[in-house]
Symmetry: C2
């Protein structure tokens, strides 16, 4: 079995236990793909038909606000799942590669069929949704009650090396601040990260 599939199965087993038959059925609907840097996997308004799993590289999901600015909602690095929320509808989000990225795409209709044959995947998907939802609620709370420097510290803990891999204005956008202000809190608050990792 290729290494990339090992990574995917490990991610599955974090949520549910599977028989080898179920594993095989799941792998059968997975399509391995690669994206170049800046390539789009999905654009706002397109039909959204896939769930994505990152094997290496980095994807982002973002949206364009009413003033025309891009706002990053999520980053997905190795072992992360990412997708728009609803399927078979015009997508709310765009999904784009920030690095050359290997990923797996799973067609939702194929997945739906899979759940009918192997109901355990209902549980899997539910857990995936719940985890994402949970993380979002916590981030929303953090955004409401913490300062940008504290949110950046949280970001560094969640994505330890990502700040070295992608342009900083993408991180600023994720944090909900301007690149300029992000630059100043970085120069002022290097000690915050030291606290965070100690």
């Amino acid at each position: 079995m290729p290494l990339s599939q090992e990574l995917l199965l490990t991610a599955l087993h974090q949520h549910v236990s599977l028989t080898s038959e179920e594993e095989a059925a799941f792998l059968a609907i997975c399509e391995e793909k690669t994206a170049k840097k800046k390539e789009f996997l999905l654009r706002t308004g397109e039909q959204n038909l896939y769930l994505y799993f990152v094997q290496n590289g980095c994807l982002r999901s973002f949206i364009i606000d009413q003033s025309g600015k891009e706002v990053n909602l999520e980053f997905a690095v190795e072992r992360y799942w990412i997708s728009d929320v609803a399927f078979h509808k015009p997508a709310l989000l765009s999904i784009q590669a920030l690095e050359p990225t290997q990923y797996v795409q799973i067609n939702v209709d194929a997945f739906e069929t899979l759940t009918q044959q192997h109901p355990v995947f209902n549980l899997f998907y539910r857990k995936l949704l719940q985890n994402g939802y949970f993380a979002f609620k916590k981030r929303m709370l953090s955004g409401m009650t913490q300062t940008a420097a504290e949110n950046y510290r949280d970001f560094l803990l969640k994505f330890p090396d990502l700040s070295q891999r992608i342009p900083q204005y993408h991180i600023a956008s994720y944090l909900g601040i301007t690149p300029e202000f992000f630059s100043t809190i970085k120069s002022e608050g290097l000690d915050l990260y030291q606290q965070a990792i100690s």
Copy 2:
């Protein structure tokens, strides 16, 4: 059939089509309850075992941040579902009645059994989760890109009469601002709501 069950079935049919047998099986696991004003349905840290549906009245979910302040995440009025995200775990959120409230509680284990007998409820639950997740992503974006007055306008559109029913500091908390600042934007920006409803 009592009126309160009609409301619940209508809410179900928004997401999935059901046979009368499935309807009956669903109603069989619903428990109708009432809560007095200020009564807690769930407190942070308790085992979370229920999904709630509001028939009338108003519930809120909130969390206490590191400085000890309550932060409102969601309101649930008539026809709204509300719950903590994960089950069988210590709850992240507290859920409390802001008015005398009639609601239905659904035990997640009973629901799990129901899904095994009637797989259509997997779809129902998934849609419920997706809708909540979707709404949250949009609210998070709004919180990042809009001013508090604009967020308040959105609130008024989503909950037209709620601002007359609950203390304003709860709305301020939901919007992520202080009651004092909420008071000033209200006195300054009455025109915003006029725009919104016109």
